[in-house]
């Protein structure tokens, strides 16, 4: 379907016809939800909080994300990194993430270094570089603050992959369009939490609705030392880390 669209844009007239047939088919709902539950995007502003001091590197989030979103093998919408920092050498941390931590981590042999886990995912930036560079408007920020992909419209040009400072995007090996964390948009718009948050055993990851005055995110942001990744990029990330070490890139 997406191939035909790309070729269509390359100018082949016969693919024009095929492309439109495909687009009509894409409008047919999938088997699961025939009717979308009522949802008002103007009442929400989604993000996520991550407490480094609770992450145990079990990889549950990676497995859950993979199961929920059909992430192809070897690709990750979320992954966990293990950092080792030698005393006084903040600039050169050793970072490992074997297979995205989908099977967790083998026990570390380093004992005298500072070590910790850092879960990563799309930061759902408010001024997102990936959205700014997309030449066709196939990646966008939804009215409730989630960076999404229109797979029927993506050309697979990879500009957004280069633009993302956090390495959160990849080309889907079968669809040949870009893929990334959707903050489980199909779940959060029907009152569920994301798959990674549902599966996190320690509560290290929490979905946050910044527009909901009763959401615990406000206490989290007020009461803790909170940081975002690469603040100098001015992306206005909405993934907030508590107890984030300065060595994390």
């Amino acid at each position: 379907m997406d191939v035909s669209r790309r070729e269509m844009l390359a100018g082949a007239a016969k693919f024009l016809v095929l492309g439109f047939a495909a687009e009509a088919a894409a409008d047919v709902p999938l088997a699961a939800p025939a009717q979308l539950p009522a949802y008002d995007p103007s009442q929400h502003w989604w993000g996520m909080t991550i407490d480094i001091d609770l992450c145990i590197g079990c990889g549950n989030c990676v497995r859950a994300c993979s199961a929920e979103n059909g992430v192809p093998d070897g690709y990750f919408r979320t992954w966990v990194e293990r950092y080792h920092v030698k005393s006084g050498d903040q600039e050169h941390p050793k970072v490992e993430s074997p297979d995205g931590a989908i099977k967790g981590f083998p026990p570390s042999t380093e004992t005298n270094e500072k070590a910790f886990y850092v879960p990563k995912l799309c930061n759902h930036c408010e001024t997102s570089p990936c959205v700014q560079v997309c030449p066709v408007g196939a990646t966008f920020e939804s009215p409730d603050g989630v960076v999404l992909v229109d797979t029927t419209y993506c050309l697979g040009c990879r500009y957004c992959i280069q633009a993302c400072p956090y390495g959160c995007r990849y080309i889907h090996p079968e669809r040949h369009t870009v893929d990334k964390c959707s903050l489980c948009y199909h779940r959060i718009t029907q009152g569920l939490t994301t798959a990674c948050c549902e599966a996190c055993p320690t509560g290290a990851r929490k979905l946050a609705d910044l527009k909901n005055p009763k959401d615990p995110v406000h206490a989290f942001l007020r009461d803790n030392k909170v940081q975002v990744l690469k603040p100098h990029m001015a992306t206005r990330s909405k993934t907030f880390y508590k107890d984030l070490d300065g060595s994390v890139r």
């Binding site: 966008f140 199909h186 599966a199």
Partner: protein, 152 residues
């Protein structure tokens, strides 16, 4: 007068060429730009519902609690009270849809428990961890510990 008409014809031809060009542009634009593009921003508005229109794999804690009162009760008193059912039992939306037909497979405690509780210096010091070979010599964790309400 005849000369004036001759010059006017140039303008009419020019206007027709511009109109045809504009028409061709609008027809092509209408054909290429998808419906709803630009309604909410520089993207196809229907892409939002496309992202919503997907089945879930994880049923969510509330759905599990609808039927499994005993386990919820046991869990609420133990150290695993904040661990959701599907954190260990895996995605169960299909089981929740048809509980009789699709029974979940019990997780293998030899793998499951160690993922969280195997000793690792990168884990927060306050988190309970053991070096499993020293701790149990490879015996199954649930030979001693009850996973729904583990006691030390």
């Amino acid at each position: 007068m005849a000369g004036g008409w001759r010059h006017a014809r140039h303008l009419i031809v020019l206007a027709l060429v511009v109109a045809a060009g504009l028409g061709a542009f609008l027809i092509l634009r209408g054909a290429v730009v998808p419906a709803g593009f630009g309604k909410l921003g520089h993207y196809r508005a229907g892409a939002i519902d496309d992202n919503r229109r997907r089945p879930v794999s994880f049923a969510g804690q509330a759905t599990c609690a609808d039927c499994h009162d005993k386990q919820v009760e046991a869990r609420s008193k133990g150290k695993h009270r904040i661990v959701s059912c599907e954190a260990c039992h895996g995605p169960q939306a299909r089981h929740a849809d048809d509980p009789e037909k699709l029974k979940p497979v019990l997780p293998d405690t030899a793998i499951l428990c160690r993922r969280c509780h195997e000793k690792d210096p990168a884990k927060p010091a306050h988190f309970p961890q053991v070096a499993s070979t020293d701790h149990s010599g490879g015996a199954a964790c649930n030979a001693c510990h009850q996973p729904h309400a583990p006691k030390m």
